[in-house]
Structures are given as C-alpha cells and as structure tokens.
C-alpha cells in the first residue's frame, strides 16, 4: 500500500520539516564579509602577494589554502581550468599553512620561487602531488620538476624572510578576521565562501561582481 499522506500527517510533517530546515537554512551560501574585517579592496591589493591567472584581470578570486588541505588540492585542477577558460581572472592563493612543518616548507619553497620567476610552476607542481600527507622529499621533488632546487628556493625565502613571514602572518590574520574557519576559503567581491565551494558558485559570484 502506498503511504497516504493525509491532512493530519501533513500537519505533523510540515512543522517538523520546516523547523529543521529553518534552523539550518539561516546561513546560506555565500556569506558576506563581516563589517569589521578587511575589505575586498584591501585583501587583493598587497603587491607582495603573488598572483596566478591573468595578473591584469578585472576580477580577483582570493583563496586561502594549505598545500596539504585535501579539499584545496581536489579543487585545484578545476580552479585552474576555470581561471584559464575565463581568461580575465586574477587568482590569489593566500598561504595559510596549518598542517605542520611540511606545509610550512611547501609555503617557503613556493614563495621563495617567486623571485626565481617560477612561483606558478612550483605552486602547481606541489598541488598536483598525490596523497593527503606530503613528505619533505615529495615537496622538494615537485619543486625540482618545476625547475627549482628546493635549496635555492629556501635561500631565496631566507633572504626576504621578514617580508614573507609578515605576508603570511597577515594572510592568517585576515582569514580569522573574515570569519574563515579553515581551508579552503574563498572571497570574491563581497561574497565569502567557507570551505570547499563548487566552481558554479564562484562563477556566479564573479558574474555578480562584473555586473556591478
């Protein structure tokens, strides 16, 4: 027999469902940048922060990430494709190393590669590594495959130690002030996305920003 939904049952069902929906549905994606947090213009303006995609693009996607964060790595190829296809996007990957010394080392090597002119390549090579846990050897090998010796990148990082650590420290401060709870986190215009985010949502946020 098919379960008959009579009026009495509906009376009970409706509030039950709405209550749970209502309670959870308050926070729908995306969120807005909190009033006290640094504004979008400030987030995307630091000249020290390396940029992927089209540096002269009209819209910037800010991503807070860790080199060992599984969701950051999973979405990386899709992001790459999205940014490439659009052609007019700046992709700012802000380091928020939170998975220990190997993540620290990956950040140091990638930022150290900026002055060696191979940031994008090193960043992509480390993000493309397999496995949730990375080892020092894997990270160093990835850098090498991108044309940079880990030692050279670390020396380069060391030369600008103060400005790099200040940049990363600032990134982390921004992440907390924005109310980001971890990695990944995205900001496009006034839209804030906590956690893994479908490309479609980011694409909509980009379109909204372009419409003005």
């Amino acid at each position: 027999m098919i379960f008959p939904l009579n009026r009495r049952a509906l009376l009970v069902l409706a509030p039950g469902g709405m209550m749970t929906l209502g309670a959870a549905g308050v926070q729908a994606r995306p969120e807005a940048i909190p009033p006290k947090a640094p504004g979008y213009a400030e987030l995307i303006s630091d000249p020290a922060q390396p940029v992927l995609g089209n540096p002269k693009g009209d819209v910037t996607i800010v991503e807070f990430f860790d080199y060992q964060c599984p969701f950051c790595r999973k979405s990386y190829p899709e992001m790459q494709a999205f940014v490439k296809k659009d052609g007019n996007l700046r992709w700012m990957m802000k380091d928020w190393p939170m998975f220990g010394p190997v993540s620290d080392r990956a950040t140091m090597i990638a930022l150290g590669a900026v002055k060696l002119g191979r940031y994008a390549e090193v960043n992509a090579a480390i993000m493309a590594l397999p496995g949730r846990h990375l080892s020092v050897e894997q990270v160093d090998a990835a850098a090498k495959s991108a044309g940079v010796e880990a030692g050279d990148a670390l020396d380069s990082f060391q030369k600008d130690y103060n400005s790099w650590t200040e940049l990363v420290g600032k990134n982390i401060g921004e992440a907390y002030e924005l109310g980001l709870m971890g990695t990944p986190g995205f900001v496009v215009g006034q839209d804030l996305f906590n956690g893994a985010t479908p490309i479609a949502d980011l694409s909509k946020a980009v379109a909204r920003l372009r419409r003005g």
Binding site: L13, G16, T20, G100, S135, F157, E166, G169, G173, M181
Partner: protein, 567 residues
C-alpha cells in the same frame, strides 16, 4: 482504525524529521560549524594508567589520528596513545586514518595542567587549523621542574634550599639593593658602640623580620586568594611607608639647621629607639617587604600555585620565609663585616646622621615615585639634592664641596628635565606612556573589550606597573630587541597597567589568573591562552622568543632549516 491513524501520523512525523534533517544538512554545508562545536573535548578519566581525553565529533566531521598532540605546563611534548581509527582509501589522496563520532587519547603519566591539540576536517568541506585546549587533571600533583616559580613539588628540603638560593639571587637585583643602605643607615646610627656582634644582632633582626613579612604575605595570599602585593603597592601603603622613612630621617635634619617641632622629633626617636635598636631593625625589616614587594611576583606566583593545587599554606609560607632569609643573607654579612670595618670614632661620625637622613629621604622619594606623577618625583629629587648639596657645600674639604656642587648640578638637571618636555631628569622613573605598539588598559572591562577586539589575531597581554622594577628591565631589554619586534609583528599587544593597584586592577588580574607584574600571556587567534608560554618575572630575550612561538600557527615563523616530518 484510530490506532492505524496514529501510526501513520507518527510515521509521517519521522519521515518529516528525516527529510527535514537531510535538507537541513545540505543547506548547513553552507557554513561549517565552528571548530569548538564540531569537536567537543572532555576529560574522561584520570587513573593509574593516565588521563583519558575524549572528543565528541559532530556528524559529518572527522579528526585525524595523526593530528593529536599534548604538552605539559612547560610546553614539553607528552607521550600520547591513540587507538586505530577508520582508514579510508581515497583514489587521489591515498590512505587517511580518521575518527568519526568520537575519539579518545590516553596520556600516560600526565599530571597537572596539560594542553591537548586535535586537528580535523568537515567531510568534503573544510579543514580546521589545530584546536588547542587546556585541561586541568584533578587529583594529580603538578609536574616537577616547572622552573623556579613552580619548584614546590619536589623534596621539601630541596625546595626550601631552592627558594633560599632564589632569594640570594634576588638580593642583587636593582629592586632589592635599596635594602643595603637601609641596613647601613641602621648600623651607622649605632655609632661608636657598634661591634660585629651588635651588627649581627641588628642585621639579624632586620633580616628575620623581612623573612617573616614575606611568609605572612604568602600565607595571607594562600588563605584569601588575594594578592597582597597589590595591597602593598596601593598609594596608601606606599604613602605610609614613605612617611615612616621621612619621620626616621627627621632627627638627622637638625644638622640642616632646621628646627623640628619637638613633637615630631619625639615620634621619630620613639620609632627608631635610642641608637639603632632591635625594635627599629624589626620595624625596618617589616617595612622592607613593602620596598621589595614588586620583586616578589615570580616566587609568590610559584608558592601560590603550589598552595592552589592543594599544597599546604604553611609550606608555601615557609618557602617564602626561606626566600626572605636568602635575600637577607648578603645583608647579614654586610652587617657583621660592615661593623668590623667601620672606623671606631672620628670626624666621620658627624657626617653620619645627615647621611642617614639623606638615605631615608631618598628611599621615601623612591617609594613615592611609584604612586605620584613623574613631575612630582622629579621635583622631590631636585629638592632633596638641593638640600643635600647645600649642606655639603657649606662644609670644608675639597671632596665634600665637590660632591656638593655635583648634587646641586644634579638638582638643576632634575628641574630642567621636569620643565623641558621630553627630556626627563636623570632620576625620572615613571613612564607614563604604554610600551611601543601596546594598547593600554587598566580595568577588567577594558581588558575584556581589548581581548574581544583582538579575537582572530594572536595577542600578547603584558601585565605591568610603574612600581614594577622587573618591568623596567623588560622595557629596556625586550621591546627594543629587533628579534622580539619581528616575533611580535602582526600580534595585537595589550598592556594591562596595574599601577593604581585598585579593585579594577585586581579584578583584571583575577580574570587572567595572573599574580602581578610582570606577567606575559600569549593568546592564540582562537582567544585561548597558550598557558605553556606564560612568563612571570623578568624574561630574557631567548626565553621570550621561545614563548612567542606559541603564537603560531597564527603568525608564521618557520625555521627553514627544519626538515619537517616525513610520513
């Protein structure tokens, strides 16, 4: 029939809840839970095996098995055991071992206060930075060897000896040095009848009284939980003590050719007794506790920590008594040998009484400088130097007149420093401005507001006071250091100023569970204090830097030479 209808209704309700919950979960993926709600930590048990700490994990979230760590009070890593977790094979990411619903760690042999760290993610959503929480393990003695301030856990004889040694070391810090002129003044007043034995008796009484006062401070603090240090640094107590020194100085003032009202002179005579008496020595020794009170933060904190963790009040007091004896030991030696070395009689005797007065007045001004504005202090110093210089210059002998001219010049410099903005006289003490980069608060409300505003950023809270000698040392060594500056970049700095030592200051100290200045407290961006990094007393630069490491992962101060941990 009725029954059937109810059955359907209940089934419908369940269905509704299920669909509602699923829909809710889908929407809720829009905003992950805060880490503290996703992973709820609790202490499960403490027994012979060790402490068990558990986490309740919200549905749809997990903790990494390799994401746990624990440290003791001093920041040293603790042994930690976990059971096998759920191994998931991800085609792209290999094998990962996680816990869902609940996780448990065992810390064998953990004692006292521990900090446990866990790290996890929301399924397909977000990965959190490590979450660190503080747990006090009940019924366990504090771990041994947490530095001088917490050394009360060991063998009692060792502990007392340790506090004695600490006292000896303290005796040579700037804040205890004024004890020496007080004692010498006391001995000098004895005049020609001073023999080594008499010197020993007088300085012994002085030192014993001081040690008893320390023990009393410790006992009262242990019983009441109140920090007497603050009470002792209140303007009333300081004013009273400065007044006592001023009165003691009065008899010598006769030589400044100022007529004293006879009543006052009698009071002064009664307080100090006829010729440096034991009674006077005891009074000065008790008062000395007030003079050196600001140096006591670190040892007092240690003793109180011990008492708070279930130790006996008497033993805490005994430790501070030993501290006082240690501080007094060099003074006792000075008393005995000083008495032997002083010439028996001669022209110097005439100079003793005004010198004693000068020392006592200088002590009074020095004490007052803790509670009065800097300009007033400068004026008092100028007045004192003018007075002393005037007396010296009227005497005979080149040395004496030279010293007089120097004193007068010093007085002039003090006046110039007080008048010209930004110069500051040579003896200017109070620093009215907050340390560089620090926002200053002085009440519990101000502190709460500042801490709330600092949330999301790593934060340093620095408890200080104008009357705190060790704080001046910190101001000289720590803040100007470039390495310290680098470690504090991007760190919110809050200065809690307890100079006024009022109820607001006490409430603020209580909020931080801090004993007094100087105390340095480090807060992570999550607003939790990294207790292993708390520092009390003067802190050397390397120690500060290692404590400041706890501000990671908020800041980023990696060591490029570290090879990392290969999995």
């Amino acid at each position: 029939m009725r029954q059937d209808m109810w059955g359907k209704a209940i089934a419908a309700l369940i269905l509704g809840l299920v669909f509602g919950t699923i829909g809710g979960a889908v929407l809720a993926a829009g905003r992950p839970l805060p880490a503290a709600e996703a992973f709820r930590m609790q202490l499960l048990s403490v027994d012979a095996q060790g402490a068990r700490i558990g986490w309740t994990i919200a549905p749809g979230y997990y903790l990494y098995r390799d994401g746990f760590s624990a440290t003791d009070d001093a920041g040293a890593a603790l042994e930690l055991h976990t059971d096998p977790g759920e191994v998931t094979q991800d085609p792209g990411f290999g094998s990962v071992e996680v816990y869902r619903d609940r996780a448990e760690v065992l810390l064998p042999g953990a004692r006292g206060v521990v900090q446990v760290t866990a790290q996890g993610c929301q399924q397909d959503g977000i990965c959190y930075p490590p979450v660190t929480e503080t747990v006090t393990l009940p019924g366990t003695a504090p771990p041994e060897g947490i530095g001088a301030e917490g050394a009360l856990a060991g063998n009692w004889l060792t502990v007392l000896a340790g506090y004695f040694g600490l006292g000896v070391l303290l005796a040579f810090t700037p804040c205890v040095l004024p004890m020496l002129p007080i004692l010498l003044a006391l001995l000098a007043r004895q005049g020609e009848t001073l023999r080594p034995a008499r010197g020993a008796v007088l300085s012994g009484a002085y030192v014993l009284a001081m040690a008893v006062a320390f023990a009393a401070i410790g006992a009262v603090a242990g019983w009441s939980g109140r920090n007497l240090q603050l009470v002792l640094q209140s303007p009333w107590a300081i004013g009273a003590m400065a007044g006592l020194f001023a009165v003691l100085a009065l008899p010598g003032l006769g030589l400044f050719e100022i007529a004293l009202p006879s009543g006052l002179a009698r009071v002064a005579d009664r307080v100090q007794g006829p010729r440096g008496s034991v009674r006077g020595a005891v009074a000065l020794g008790l008062g000395a506790a007030l003079v050196v009170g600001p140096c006591l933060t670190a040892p007092l904190a240690g003793a109180l920590l011990y008492i708070a963790q279930g130790g006996s009040v008497a033993f805490g007091a005994a430790a501070l008594f030993a501290l006082g004896l240690g501080q007094g030991a060099p003074l006792l030696l000075a008393g005995v040998f000083g008495a032997a070395l002083l010439p028996r009689a001669g022209a110097w005797m005439g100079a003793v009484r005004p010198l004693v007065s000068f020392v006592f007045l200088a002590l009074a001004v020095w004490l007052l400088s803790r509670v009065v504005p800097g300009t007033v202090t400068a004026a008092l110093w100028a007045g004192l130097l003018l007075w002393g210089g005037g007396w010296l210059i009227r005497g005979t002998g080149r040395v004496r007149r030279g010293l007089g001219v120097l004193a007068l010049l010093g007085a002039g410099a003090q006046v110039a420093g007080a008048v010209l903005p930004g110069v500051g006289g040579p003896l200017a003490t109070a620093t009215p401005e907050a340390a560089p980069g620090f926002g200053r608060v002085s009440t519990v409300d101000g502190l709460e507001t500042a801490l709330a505003a600092a949330r999301g950023r790593p934060t340093l809270v620095y408890v200080t006071a104008d009357w705190c000698e060790s704080c001046r040392q910190i101001a000289r060594t720590l803040w100007p250091d470039p390495a310290v500056g680098a470690a504090l970049r991007g760190v919110t700095r809050i200065e809690l100023d307890v100079t006024r030592a009022d109820a607001g200051a006490e409430a603020a100290l209580k909020r931080l569970s801090a004993f007094g200045p100087p105390t340095l407290l480090f807060f992570g961006p999550d607003g939790t204090e990294r207790i292993a990094s708390r520092r009390t007393g003067p802190v050397p630069v390397p120690d500060f830097l290692s404590a400041a490491r706890a501000l990671r992962p908020a800041g980023f101060a990696p060591d490029p030479s570290i090879q990392g941990v290969s999995e």
